[in-house]
């Protein structure tokens, strides 16, 4: 693959307190047009890794480079290239959908002339056309999740980071969001963490698996599928990882 690298992380480490290591020595690379799936058991360090990639949490060691900008040295330029949906969508519950999304667009330096267009596109992509004037707090969980995704993509970032994007959605909504992620994967790079293995099978070009904060597998989803189905492969990798520890 020769597409340009949009995000690379080198030896990321994060400790909570003196002894507890949440993430240790994780390196990864992402190219334009790639969808990367991040797998792992609960507490494996998925969310912590994603937070470090987006600048929400400073790493204790290691560096993150986004679109050739070092996240620690040129945070403003690097952060402009990234859209992030955290585990808990960062929504101001008392704002209207339109006002909130416009605020997110302004925060990410979308030029004033293009804001209306960006707003319309983000709403259309996330199926929010009918919710413009609604107050976010009154929306259902699934719609709130969509608003969360809309704020992450409104500035058309080169890298989209989604932490469990389909949690709490109904099957039809999951299908819509997956279509959206595939669409995003054409123009940008996407990283998503998930527990749903069929999601990975359907969406991701590459997969990495974390266990106890360490990277134990990195390869294409085709490689994982080679020895049977995804679930067997995942369990085999994580269990042998646990045995090897």
């Amino acid at each position: 693959m020769s597409a340009p690298v949009t995000l690379s992380a080198h030896e990321l480490t994060r400790r909570h307190g003196a002894n507890l290591v949440a993430v240790s020595g994780v390196s990864l690379e992402l190219r334009r047009g790639e969808v990367l799936g991040l797998l792992g058991h609960n507490g494996a360090g998925k969310s912590t890794t994603l937070q470090m990639l987006t600048g929400a949490l400073p790493p204790d060691e290691g560096t993150v480079t986004i679109c050739d900008f070092d996240l620690a040295k040129e945070p403003e330029r690097a952060k402009a290239c990234i859209g992030f949906l955290p585990e808990h969508p960062p929504l101001y519950k008392d704002m209207r959908v339109d006002d909130f999304l416009l605020f997110a667009a302004r925060l990410h330096k979308v030029p004033a002339a293009k804001q209306a267009e960006a707003l319309a596109l983000a709403k259309q992509r996330c199926g929010l056309q009918d919710c413009s004037r609604k107050i976010i707090g009154t929306l259902s969980k699934g719609y709130q999740q969509r608003v969360g995704i809309a704020q992450a993509i409104i500035h058309n970032p080169a890298v989209v980071v989604l932490d469990e994007p389909t949690v709490g959605l109904d099957p039809a909504q999951i299908r819509d969001i997956r279509t959206l992620i595939r669409e995003l994967g054409d123009s940008s790079s996407v990283i998503l963490s998930t527990h749903l293995l069929n999601e990975v099978e359907n969406l991701c070009d590459r997969v990495i698996i974390l266990q106890h904060g360490r990277l134990i597998f990195s390869g294409s989803s085709a490689e994982m599928l080679a020895n049977g189905n995804m679930e067997d492969a995942f369990l085999q990798i994580t269990e042998s990882g646990a045995a090897g520890k």
Partner: protein, 248 residues
């Protein structure tokens, strides 16, 4: 960018029902004080008329009212400042600002000015009430404006203090109570000092407000307020930068 954040901050403070409740309570208390003061003044007015250079309505009514307003704002501002950073942390909306391409200075100044706009509206409401004095008497406009300016500076100082304490904590209630405790402590420094020249008294924003309350615009007081506000805003920016580098 500062404007974007300030506007959002102002609008979300203004959209909260609790803000309206507090505004209504403040107006009610202020109106009550106003009538009580007015009543007192009218009772002694006949005796005052015999004096040469008798105190006018402005100094007898407006100045003490501004003193009361300063005290009420001191109690009220921590309730606003706790929402500004600490509550965003608890509601996990802070991540949005943290991962956006915005510097800590822009966040802090945006939040400060958004809050200040709301405080200015509160003060304007009270100023409008004081302006009714103009209907019945020949008020001392200079004294009144010095008082209102003083209240605004004092409110800005308490807001900067509250903002810093809000940046230090994850719990809104801790942010509010520590801001209230500290501003009350500073107020006590002024109240308890027997000597007008004492060093401790000079630390208190309220002591510097006293001069403006008497209509005395002193450059030393203005410099004090500017220093107090900029120091606290700078500390807040530093705190947020440290947090971005090392985590909270």
């Amino acid at each position: 960018m500062i404007y974007t954040i300030a506007k959002k901050e102002f609008r979300s403070l203004f959209a909260a029902p609790s803000t309206w409740l507090m505004l209504a309570l403040l107006q009610f208390l202020f109106a009550w004080f106003y009538f009580a003061r007015m009543d007192d003044y009218l009772q002694i007015q006949a005796q005052l008329a015999h004096l040469d250079n008798a105190p006018g309505a402005t100094i007898a009514v407006a100045a003490p009212l501004c003193g009361a307003l300063a005290l009420m704002l001191m109690l009220l501002i921590p309730l606003f400042t706790m929402r500004v950073i600490a509550e965003e942390r608890r509601n996990q909306t802070w991540v949005l600002l943290l991962t956006a391409p915005v510097s800590a200075a822009h966040i802090v100044l945006g939040k400060f000015f958004g809050l200040l706009a709301l405080l200015a509206i509160i003060i304007c409401g009270c100023a409008a009430m004081l302006a009714t004095l103009l209907l019945g008497t020949h008020a001392d406009l200079g004294l009144m404006l010095a008082n209102l300016g003083g209240v605004l500076l004092l409110a800005a100082s308490y807001a900067a203090l509250g903002l810093y304490l809000s940046a230090l904590s994850k719990q809104p209630i801790i942010a509010a109570s520590s801001a209230l405790g500290l501003s009350f402590g500073l107020w006590m420094l002024e109240m308890s000092s027997s000597d007008n020249r004492s060093f401790l008294r000079a630390l208190s924003p309220n002591a510097h407000f006293q001069n403006l309350n008497m209509g005395l615009i002193n450059s030393a007081d203005l410099i004090y307020f500017a220093l107090f506000i900029t120091t606290l805003l700078w500390l807040t920016i530093r705190q947020l930068n440290d947090e971005r580098r090392h985590g909270l």
